[in-house]
């Protein structure tokens, strides 16, 4: 009898825990969306921010976020895929493979602020670039690399053996097989993983504080020369991203409408990350349908 009551109490506690977790999420999301969306307007998204006056927007920060993400992915995807191919196809079990695995593990567990400090040392001071988009993108690449390698390796390993062996049996070399058989087959799951990683990069801030900086020069969106100082495309200019903007207006900002701007920015940030997740899910289910459907 006693153990039955204990069982019932325990069940009640577990249900309570589940309810707590769900209500935390519901609370967070409703707060972000309800408070944020009323400040998000076309004007908010298209006017530049102001350091002292109210009514600024987030045009440049939004552009910077996507641009830094784009440059990061441009570096991280080939590098990560290369590493994944090496780990899945070329690495033989042994000391060197163990070392690479440990390195991936270390990179994955380093706090992003530590990677930011390394970026400050390496890409800001040593290279003499100063705060730059490229430095930020390289730091984010380091953060992102482990997850891309892991996703890529899993995807390559889950390609059916028959496919690979059929190709090799035709006398096609290994690299050619990787290029024409394995990568196209693994592509869908790699894509899903990369989009999820992109969502995480989009919200990253601590590493960018020390590498991409806290400021954005006055940008001229009609200037498409990537070497000009005012061009948004210049990768050697400092760039404050949306996530960094939320932090900086809250901690060192002088603008009177801090709360409006940060709740609006937070809503935009969370919605973007949500869209990345939905996109990854949608692509995943699309592919699942394609694979399972009898053609």
């Amino acid at each position: 009898m006693k153990s039955k009551t204990a069982d019932r109490i325990a069940t009640g506690v577990f249900i309570a825990i589940a309810i707590i977790i769900i209500s935390i999420l519901v609370g967070l999301f409703s707060f972000i969306l309800v408070n944020g969306l009323k400040h998000v307007s076309f004007d908010f998204l298209t006017t530049p921010s102001s350091n002292v006056r109210a009514g600024g927007g987030i045009r440049d920060q939004l552009f910077n976020s996507f641009y830094v993400l784009f440059i990061t992915m441009l570096i991280a995807i080939p590098l990560g895929l290369g590493g994944a191919i090496y780990m899945a196809e070329y690495a033989k079990p042994g000391k060197i493979t163990d070392i690479i695995r440990s390195c991936i593990e270390v990179l994955a567990s380093l706090p992003s602020i530590v990677i930011g400090m390394f970026g400050l040392l390496m890409f800001v001071n040593l290279t003499g670039w100063g705060y730059s988009i490229l430095g930020g993108a390289l730091a984010l690449t380091i953060i992102n690399l482990p997850s891309i390698v892991r996703v890529g390796e899993d995807a390559i390993r889950s390609v059916p053996r028959d496919l690979k062996e059929a190709s090799l049996a035709l006398g096609i070399t290994k690299w050619h097989t990787i290029k024409t058989v394995i990568l196209p087959t693994a592509f869908p799951s790699i894509l899903t993983g990369v989009i999820l990683a992109a969502g995480r990069v989009f919200g990253e801030a601590a590493a960018l504080l020390f590498t991409a900086g806290l400021s954005t020069p006055r940008l001229d969106y009609t200037n498409w020369n990537p070497f000009s100082d005012q061009s948004p495309l210049n990768i050697f200019r400092p760039a404050e991203t949306l996530a960094v903007h939320i932090w900086s207006v809250n901690t060192q900002g002088l603008i009177p409408d801090v709360e409006e701007i940060s709740s609006g920015s937070a809503a935009v940030l969370v919605i973007s990350v949500l869209l990345f997740n939905l996109l990854a899910r949608w692509i995943g289910s699309l592919i699942h349908k394609k694979i399972t459907a009898t053609k």
Binding site: A18, I21, G83, Y90, M117
Partner: protein
């Protein structure tokens, strides 16, 4: 007239081309692997040397740095570099948030795997994934605008406190713990449960006496990973913890952690000055701690295999 190349030549040529590609491909992916190794090694070396400079070049005493509570680097006559309050703050928020988040996370995992495997998972899984997706600055911002005023009005103190930091961090590491704990619980062999039920044990007895001990190393791994995340988190904590240099005497006191001091002061100090170098030493502590967490996880996973 068409030029006819004998088959032998064609084959030979194409074979050569393929062989080239083969080698180039292998070199290419090996370079990618080497870049990963060198990134890890250079992070360790660069931060290591930079972090040790304040002790070697500037003559800051290591003992003073680690144990003294006096942090006063701007004092011209008698600068003091005791980082103990920040080290203490880091460990305090990490352990306290693990204490809050571990029962919640593991409880959530048990709910998903044991209590309501069919529909519970369908609801909680996306919830956890969405919590992972919220960027840390957003947690910080909500902490700053909701939690801090709430604590100020209903609990006491300034609101900027250790307590706020712990609450924000607990929510941030909750998804990490829940995800790994769920994997651990659901990978337990089915016959463990069935054997226990067959003996007439209730669900709670099965969970407490059979399932949790069986999954313990993995559950601890989950908690350690959560702690690693909490120890390194910077901006969200910085926004709510208050950032004072004194040792907190209770949960409602404002405090500071290694990450928050680095975040705040890195931009204000001159590169190469003693104060700046001590910040790098704190970064080195973060680096060393993440190695410690990795070793801890390795130890736990070696216990799991046995």
């Amino acid at each position: 007239m068409e030029k006819i190349i004998p088959a032998k030549e064609r084959l030979l040529k194409s074979e050569k081309k393929w062989k080239d590609g083969e080698l180039r491909g292998k070199i290419l992916v090996t370079i990618c692997a080497v870049i990963m190794i060198s990134a890890t090694i250079s992070i360790t070396i660069f931060l290591g040397t930079k972090g040790l400079q304040s002790f070697i070049k500037n003559g800051v005493s290591l003992i003073e740095f680690l144990t003294s509570t006096q942090w006063n680097p701007t004092n011209k006559a008698n600068p003091e570099y005791g980082a103990f309050p920040f080290i203490f703050g880091s460990f305090a928020v990490t352990f306290l948030s693990a204490i809050v988040a571990a029962p919640l996370g593991i409880g959530g995992a048990i709910f998903m795997t044991e209590i309501a495997p069919s529909w519970g998972r369908k609801i909680l899984q996306p919830v956890i994934e969405l919590l992972v997706g919220i960027p840390s600055v957003v947690y910080g911002f909500i902490g700053l605008t909701v939690l801090v005023p709430f604590i100020r009005e209903h609990v006491g103190g300034l609101g900027f406190s250790l307590l706020s930091g712990v609450i924000v961090l607990s929510i941030m590491i909750l998804p990490t713990i829940t995800t790994i704990a769920t994997d651990a619980m659901s990978s337990l062999p089915k016959n463990l449960r069935e054997g226990s039920y067959a003996l007439g044990a209730t669900r709670w007895q099965t969970i407490r006496k059979v399932l949790i001990p069986a999954a313990l190393p993995s559950l601890l791994t989950a908690v350690v990973l959560g702690m690693a995340r909490a120890f390194g988190e910077a901006l969200a904590v910085q926004m709510v913890i208050g950032n004072v240099r004194d040792l907190p005497s209770n949960l409602l006191d404002a405090s500071a952690t290694l990450t928050t001091i680095i975040t705040l002061n890195m931009g204000h100090t001159t590169y190469g000055s003693v104060e700046n170098n001590t910040l790098w030493s704190m970064g080195l502590i973060l680096l060393v701690m993440s190695f410690v967490f990795i070793l801890l996880i390795r130890y736990l996973s070696s216990r799991r295999k046995m």
